[in-house]
Amino acid sequence: MELLLQQIANGLSLGMAYALVALGLTLVFGVLHVVNFAHGEFYMLGALVTVLVVKSLGLPYIVALLVAIVLVSAVAWVMDIVAVSPVARKPGGDQIVLVSTYAAGLIIVETVLAAIGPTPIAVSGFSGIVHFGSVVLTMHRVFMFAAGIVMICGLYMLFARTNFGRSLRAVAQSDYAAKVVGIDVERIKTLTFVLAGGIAGLAGGLIAPIITFNATMGLHAGIHAFVVVVIGSMGSIPGAVVCGLSLGMIESVLSIFLGQHVAATLIYSLLLVTLFVRPQGLFQGALR
C-alpha cells in the first residue's frame, strides 16, 4: 500500500511533465489546427539549455530554467516563421506542416547530436526530501509539481481574463469569424506557437534533473504527448492535463507489477480500445 502511494506520488510529478508537453501540443492543434511533429524537440531543447547553463556557466538551476523558457520560445518563434505559418496557409497545408515540422525537428535533433553527442548528461535540481506521511518525495519533484500547477493556473487566467486569451479562443473556434471582428489571426497563431514552445521548454527544464538529458528524449516525449492529447480530445486543455497526470500515475503504478514494455503495451492497447469506444477522445469540445 505504501509502495502504491509512493508510486502514485512519483507518477504525479512525471505526469506533470507529460501534461505540460501535451498542453502545448493541444494548444497548437486547437488554435493553429495543425499537428506539430517537432513539439517533443522543444522539450528536449528545454532540458539541454538547462543542463548547459548549469554545467558550463555555473548559474543556479532556477536561472537556468528561466533561460530555457526564453531560448526555447525564441526557437519556437523561428520555427513558426520558417516552417509553420507560411506552410499552413497554403491549400492542403495541414498535411504539409507534418513534413515541414518533422524536418525542422530533425534539424534540431541531428544538430544537437552532432554538436553534443549521444551521451546522457545529468544535472541536479533542488536538493532535499519532503515527507508526506509515509510517502517520501524529493524536493525537486515537489517543486516540479508546484511549478506545473502554477503554469496551468496562469494559463487559465491568461485564457479567461486577458484580451489575448479571448482572441486566442476566438481563433480556435473560427479563423474566419475572428478575422471578421478584427483580430490579427496570424499574430495570435504565432504567439500561441511561441507560448506552446515555452511551456515545453519549461517541462524539459523541470524533468532534466529527474531523467538525465539525452538528445533523443524529445522523440519519446513527443509520442507520449500525442497519446495524451488524443485521449484527452485534440484541442482540449483540461483533457491534456488530466490525461497527462493519469498517464504518469498509471505508468508508475504499473511499473510495480509489470516490466516497462509490458506496461507500455497495456497502455497502448487501452488507448486503442478508448479510440474505438469514444473516437473523439474523452474530453470532447475544443478550446472554448
Binding site: V82, I96, V99, S100, L106, I107, H261, L275
Partner: protein, 586 residues
C-alpha cells in the same frame, strides 16, 4: 509521355547488373522505400487518411517472411508472397476502424498499432528472440546465379525493380478504375459518394488492405538486405519515412511516392561528405523542398497532359430503372432534440410524376428528403418502396434500390473534370472486382465502355458536353448545379430526389432546368423536388405537398394547393393576426 515510365524501368533493369555493389545496395533500398511510400500513398493520397504507423505492415511482412523461412525452412522467395497475407489482414482491420476514426485519431490509432507490434516483437523473446533479432541467411538461388551468370546482388536488385514496376502497374490501374473513382469520391465528397451508392466500408477496406499488402511486400523484400529481423522494423522513424516520402514526392501522382522514396534513400548517402551533420542538412533540404514545392517534387517534372475524352461511338439513352409503382412515406417523424423537424408526414410519390415539396424556410423539406433517401433515420414511421422498407437501410443501399438524391449545396468533386464526376455516378451500373480492374480483360473493358457511354449520355442530357474535360471547380455556378443533376442521372435513378436545384439560378437557367425536368418525366423518370421558386414549381409539378413547421399542410394539384387557405396563411400570414409566427418568404 506514355512510354517514358516503362522505358525508364527497362533501362534501370538493363543497367542494374553493371552497377558497383555499393550503388546496387543503395538502389535496392531506394526501390523498397519507393514501394513502401507507394503503399502509404494509397491511404494518404487516395483516401486522405494520414497513417503514422505504416511500419506495422512493413514489419509484419518482414517478420512473416523471415520467421517462415527460419522455422519451416521454406524457400525465402516463396515466403515473401505469403507474407503479403498478414499485411492484407491487418489492413482490412484498420480499414474497418477507419470508418469510425478519421484525421488525427486515425493517425494515432495506426501509430499505436505499430508500437504494440514493436513491443510484442521486442518482448516475445522465445519466438522473435527479442532485441537480439532473428538472423536470416542470405537467400541465394545458386541455380539461377549459374544460369544467368549474375551474382546475388544483381538478381536481388533486378527483382526489386520488377516488383516496384508491378506494384505501380497494379496501383495505377486500380486508381483509374471504378474503385479509384470511389476512393476519390469518398475523400472529397463523402455524401455525394453515398448518394450514388458507394459503400464506404467496402472501398476503405479494399484501399487499406491493398496498402497493407504492398507494405508487407516491401518489408519481405527488405530482409535480404539487412539479414536480421529486429523490432526496429516496426519503428516510428520507418513509418514517418513512408509518409514523408509520399508527401515529398507528391501525393497526387503515382510516380510521386517513387520519387520521394528514391530521395529518402539516396540523399542521406550523398551527404556523407558532411559527415555527422548529414541528416540535419538532409532535413534542411526537405524543409526547403516542402516550402518551395508543396505539391511535391513530381510537380517539377513536365505535367502529363490531361486526357481529353471523346464521345463514345455507341451513344445510349438515359433511362430510369423500373421500380415498384410508388414510394410511400408513412407517418414519418424526425426530431432533433426538442425540435420536431418532421412530424407525422405521409404522402406518396407515384411513378412517372413530378411531385413538388414546398413550404416556408424551416418547414422540414430537406429533412424529409434526407429521411426518404435514408441519409437520416426516422424516429418513427417508415418509407416503403413496394415491399421494401427503405428507412432501415443505409444511404448507399437506398441508392442501390434506385432512390437517389441531390444536395442543396453544390456537391461535386471540384478537382475532377466534369466527365470524371459523372463517371462516379455510374458506380452502380455494373458490379466490379479489384482483380477485374487490374487485369482489364475484354469483359471489363466492355463494362467500362457501358459506363462511359452512360456518363456521356447524362452529360449531353444536361447540356455540358462542351465542358466535359474541364474541372468542375472551374464551371459557373449554374453549370455546377446541372453537373450535380447529371451525376444523379448517371445512377439511372427510379426515383430522383432534387433538393433546391433552382436555388441561385437566374431566370433563364431556371427555365432550362424546368424544361430538363419535364423531358425527364417524359422519359419515365419519377421526380420529387424541393424548391422555393414557386412560379416554376406551380408550372412543373403534377402534385404538390406543402409542409409547415414539420407538418403536412396540404396535398394536391397545384391549383388546389394554391387556393387552400392554410397555405396562403403559412406563406403570407393573415390580416387579423399580423404578428403570428410564420415565414413570409416565397
Amino acid at each position: 509521355m506514355k512510354f517514358v515510365i516503362p522505358a525508364v524501368f527497362v533501362a534501370a533493369l538493363v543497367a542494374a547488373p553493371f552497377l558497383p555493389t555499393y550503388y546496387q545496395g543503395l538502389a535496392i533500398y531506394a526501390c523498397i522505400l519507393a514501394i513502401f511510400a507507394t503503399s502509404a500513398n494509397i491511404s494518404l493520397g487516395q483516401l486522405g487518411l494520414i497513417s503514422f504507423g505504416h511500419a506495422a505492415f512493413f514489419g509484419l511482412g518482414a517478420y512473416a517472411a523471415g520467421l517462415l523461412n527460419f522455422y519451416t525452412g521454406m524457400n525465402y522467395w516463396l515466403a515473401v508472397p505469403l507474407a503479403i497475407l498478414p499485411g492484407v489482414a491487418l489492413g482490412a482491420l484498420v480499414g474497418l476502424a477507419s470508418l469510425r476514426l478519421s484525421g488525427a485519431y486515425f493517425a494515432i490509432a495506426t501509430l499505436v498499432t505499430s508500437e504494440i507490434l514493436r513491443l510484442v516483437a521486442l518482448n516475445w523473446v522465445s519466438f522473435t528472440r527479442g532485441p537480439m533479432g532473428v538472423v536470416v541467411h542470405r537467400p541465394r538461388e545458386k541455380w539461377l546465379e549459374a544460369l544467368t551468370g549474375r551474382d546475388f546482388g544483381d538478381l536481388y536488385l533486378m527483382l526489386c525493380i520488377l516488383v516496384l514496376a508491378l506494384v505501380l502497374f497494379v496501383v495505377s490501374r486500380v486508381n483509374r478504375s471504378l474503385i479509384g473513382r470511389a476512393w476519390v469520391a469518398l475523400r472529397d465528397q463523402p455524401k455525394l459518394a453515398e448518394s450514388v451508392g458507394i459503400w464506404p466500408l467496402r472501398y476503405k477496406v479494399i484501399a487499406i488492405a491493398m496498402s497493407g499488402g504492398i507494405a508487407a511486400l516491401a518489408g519481405g523484400l527488405f530482409v535480404p538486405r539487412v539479414l536480421v529481423l529486429s523490432p526496429d522494423l516496426f519503428s516510428g522513424t520507418l513509418s514517418a519515412t513512408a509518409l514523408l516520402a509520399a508527401i515529398l514526392g507528391g501525393r497526387g501522382a503515382v510516380m510521386g511516392p517513387v520519387l520521394g522514396g528514391i530521395v529518402f534513400a539516396v540523399a542521406p548517402e550523398l551527404l556523407r561528405v558532411v559527415d555527422e551533420y548529414r541528416l540535419a542538412i538532409f532535413a534542411l533540404l526537405l524543409l526547403v523542398v516542402v516550402r518551395v514545392r508543396p505539391d511535391g517534387l513530381i510537380s517539377l517534372l513536365p505535367r502529363r497532359k490531361t486526357v481529353h475524352v471523346r464521345p463514345p461511338s455507341a451513344l445510349v439513352e438515359i433511362t430510369p430503372r423500373q421500380l415498384p409503382a410508388t414510394l410511400s412515406i408513412e407517418h414519418l417523424s424526425r426530431h432533433f432534440g426538442g425540435l420536431k423537424a418532421v412530424e407525422d408526414v405521409s404522402f406518396e410519390v407515384r411513378r412517372g410524376e413530378i411531385l413538388g415539396l414546398i413550404g416556408p424556410n424551416g418547414a422540414g423539406k430537406t429533412t424529409c428528403l434526407s429521411l426518404i433517401s435514408a441519409f437520416l433515420s426516422p424516429n418513427s414511421g417508415v418509407v416503403r418502396l413496394g415491399q421494401l422498407t427503405l428507412s432501415t437501410l443505409s444511404s448507399h443501399q437506398a441508392a442501390q434500390q434506385g432512390v437517389v438524391r441531390t444536395f442543396q449545396h453544390t456537391t461535386v468533386c471540384m478537382d475532377l473534370s466534369v466527365y470524371e464526376n459523372v463517371l462516379i455516378g455510374t458506380h452502380l451500373l455494373l458490379p466490379e472486382t479489384t482483380a477485374a480492374a487490374v487485369l482489364r480483360l475484354p469483359a471489363y473493358q466492355q463494362r467500362e465502355c457501358k459506363r462511359q457511354a452512360l456518363a456521356w449520355a447524362a452529360i449531353c442530357f444536361v447540356g455540358l458536353e462542351e465542358r466535359a474535360n474541364e474541372l468542375a471547380g472551374s464551371l459557373a455556378y449554374g453549370e455546377q448545379r446541372m453537373l450535380s443533376i447529371a451525376v444523379a442521372l448517371a445512377t439511372r435513378p427510379g426515383f430522383l430526389l432534387l433538393d433546391e436545384p433552382a436555388a441561385g439560378l437566374n431566370h433563364t437557367e431556371a427555365l432550362v432546368l424546368a424544361r430538363l425536368l419535364t423531358s425527364l418525366r417524359e422519359k419515365g423518370f419519377t421526380i420529387a423536388i424541393v424548391d422555393h421558386n414557386l412560379r416554376m414549381m406551380m408550372k412543373l409539378c403534377d402534385r404538390i405537398v406543402v409542409l409547415h413547421h414539420g407538418r403536412m399542410l396540404a396535398e394536391g394539384d397545384p391549383v388546389t394547393v394554391r387556393n387552400t387557405p392554410a397555405v396562403i396563411e403559412a406563406y403570407l400570414g393573415t390580416s387579423d393576426e399580423p404578428e403570428k409566427q410564420g415565414a413570409t418568404d416565397a
